[in-house]
């Protein structure tokens, strides 16, 4: 079972004070730690678990700048055999479908039984690439996948629906699965392992290599156009209780008492 895992490097923003860059179309990434997108990490782990049980090779693929090779090396350290970076200035600024278009082209000359992606990127939150990719490759798909069971020529998957419901499906191979977080427990890639992997080759694929017209990908090939970024209004609802932990807690306790919770 040969698996392609499509991953993305994203900035870690959970705790950071974000700044919108000049021009209003991006954030200032300087100082932000870069990492593998969370659900992609689960997708990689799922691929590793499947190949551990059913043999096969893993190709790790990303569309991104040179810094994202760190994610590829980390993936190779964990067990991916081949790494591909879809890299071309032409891909810059592409929306999810433009990205899927480039990845689909990169997958053309790769032999695979299964393509795994994370179900959502934590930066743009688009939740589109995996499904779009399947459509472009003309193979079936499922996303929000929290269970995968490999059968003969097909997989049985569980999709996580709202309200804690699981939708079970069987899907013929090859297919694309968008993996949801929590499906497994991602392993660790040691620094030694990453260092060893850094000696291995990463295949680069440009738009030209894949026969893609620059106008069909990147910003030029995107149906949506980013107009501007703004910060959402915050704190309008909450009455912030000030003071030391003890003081603030005291105020809250009074409120709760007043409302009859204490």
């Amino acid at each position: 079972m040969n698996i392609v895992v499509c991953v993305k490097q994203v900035p870690e923003t959970a705790e950071a004070d974000l700044k919108i860059a000049a021009g209003g179309k991006g954030i200032v990434e300087e100082g932000l730690a870069l990492q593998i997108n969370e659900s992609d990490n689960y997708a990689l782990e799922e691929a590793l678990l499947i190949t551990e049980e059913h043999d096969g090779d893993i190709t790790i693929m990303t569309l991104g700048h040179e810094s994202s090779e760190e994610v590829l090396r980390m993936s190779m350290a964990k067990g991916a055999g081949t790494a591909v970076r879809v890299a071309d200035p032409a891909f810059d600024g592409g929306d999810a479908i433009a990205t899927a278009t480039a990845l689909a082209a990169a997958l053309k000359d790769v032999e695979y039984d299964l393509v795994l992606t994370g179900c959502m990127a934590s930066d743009d939150g688009a939740t589109q690439v995996g499904v779009a990719l399947a459509e472009l490759l003309d193979i079936p798909h499922a996303t929000y996948v929290t269970e995968v069971e490999v059968g003969s020529g097909e997989v049985t998957v569980g999709r996580e629906l709202e309200g804690g419901l699981i939708e079970k499906l069987t899907i013929k191979l090859p297919c694309v699965l968008g993996i949801q977080t929590g499906i497994n427990e991602p392993r660790y890639a040691s620094i030694m392992g990453i260092a060893r992997a850094s000696k291995r080759e990463i295949e680069l694929k440009s738009a030209g290599d894949m026969g893609l017209d620059a106008s069909s990908v990147g910003a030029a090939g995107s149906g949506t156009v980013l107009e501007e970024l703004t910060f959402p209004p915050v704190g309008e609802g909450a009455d912030i209780l000030e003071g030391t932990p003890s003081e603030a807690s005291g105020k809250l306790a009074d409120i709760l008492k007043e409302k009859g919770f204490v």
């Binding site: 705790e15 950071a16 870069l34 964990k78 392993r187 660790y188 890639a189 040691s190 620094i191 392992g193």
Partner: protein
């Protein structure tokens, strides 16, 4: 071909006397049997990584086993080696994984971003060295005192003490990175080496002369594992003792409390620093100091070292040592159980709650106590 554990850790000298297990603080409350681990390594029958031997994660790296081995075998290194092997396979507890990944990304194991490393000093005036500026005397804060809300008060207390004693120092601000002591003990050799390289470069760039650390863990690795040449390294208790002796630091206040002292493994057993913290304690006006039965080299480990801050013991079977420790101190009638290590502080404080001794005793860091007497 991989080198066998027997060769790599020179296990054949072992005479199976069991002093390692007998001295292991967790041997009676977890299923870690150090002698058995050595035996299996010696005979080549046991698991070769901590995945197959999860109790290896119970080791607190207090070093009793290694310090006391009559034959010079280093069981603690073997256990760290088992962890390393598990790490190489990527098969480790998620909490350890997250701590390691965080250290790689942010330079601290607490999952906090680098930008917030100086948050503790926000309302204080703490000097931060400019890039390339020489730092003859560096206050290395360390990840836990920098980020942990409880331990931050150690850093704050030290800053107050430095000010009172007229110590000219500087910090590295957000450039400061994890020392790697716990990382090495979790078995992540590559990451440790990366940190060593980075820190040595950082220290070199600032021509650091002497380092004072808030945590004994940082001191230990700088002093013993960074190789030559590194700056002189002292733990703050050593600095305070010498400042007191030189008359540069004087206490104007009084702390009318009965206190006892918990020796941190990385201060005591690893580095033989037993006297200085006591010298500081005894000079604080009003303090009545009494030793616990198990003190100095017989001090009980708090179980906070060796990566255990990021991991629960597997298959516990006895009382937490920190709880035993708290009970011992309560029995002694101490108002304060003083320690000089942020990990001890946190584990002991937790144990005060879990052992139902809230209100009976307080855990306090030596720096906090000293600052109270300024």
């Amino acid at each position: 071909m991989a080198v066998s554990l027997q060769e790599k850790y020179e296990l054949l000298g072992c005479i199976q006397c069991g002093r390692c297990t007998a001295g292991c603080p967790v041997s009676m409350r977890t299923y870690l049997n150090v002698r058995r681990v050595v035996y299996d390594g010696m005979t080549g029958v046991g698991p070769t990584d901590a995945k197959g031997r999860p109790e290896a994660w119970n080791c607190t790296t207090c070093s009793n086993c290694t310090e006391r081995c009559p034959k010079g075998v280093k069981p603690m290194e073997l256990i760290i080696g088992l962890r390393s092997a598990a790490i190489e396979k990527g098969r480790i507890e998620p909490t350890i994984r997250d701590a390691l990944e965080s250290t790689f990304k942010h330079g601290n194991p607490w999952g906090r971003i680098r930008d917030k490393r100086t948050e503790w000093a926000d309302e204080l005036s703490v000097p931060v060295a400019a890039e390339g500026e020489a730092v003859p005397f560096l206050f290395y804060v360390g990840c836990t005192p920098a980020y942990d809300p409880r331990a931050q008060s150690i850093a704050k207390a030290l800053v107050a003490l430095f000010a009172a004693a007229g110590v000219e120092y500087s910090t590295l601000g957000t450039d400061e990175s994890c020392c790697g002591n716990e990382i090495r003990r979790m078995g992540e050799d590559g990451l440790f080496e990366m940190l060593v390289e980075g820190n040595r470069e950082l220290f070199g760039g600032h021509e650091v002369g002497t380092i004072v650390t808030a945590s004994p863990h940082c001191m230990n690795t700088f002093k013993n594992e960074y190789g030559e040449p590194t700056p002189d390294v002292v733990h703050y208790s050593q600095l305070l003792a010498s400042l007191l002796e030189a008359g540069k630091l004087t206490f104007k206040g009084k702390v009318e409390k009965k206190v006892t002292f918990h020796d941190a493994c990385f201060l005591g057993k690893h580095n033989g620093i037993y006297d200085e913290p006591r010298e500081v304690l005894e000079q604080i006006p009003g303090v009545t100091f009494e030793e616990m039965d198990r003190s100095r080299e017989r001090a009980l480990c708090c179980e906070g070292g060796g990566g255990r801050m990021w991991l629960e013991a597997t298959e516990e079977r006895g009382e937490r040592l920190a709880e035993t420790r708290v009970k011992d101190a309560v029995e002694l009638g101490a108002d304060y159980l003083v320690t000089a290590c942020p990990f001890c502080l946190m584990t002991l404080e937790d144990a005060v709650k879990t052992s139902g001794n809230e209100g009976k005793i307080e855990i306090i860091d030596l720096a906090e106590l000293a600052a109270m007497a300024l």
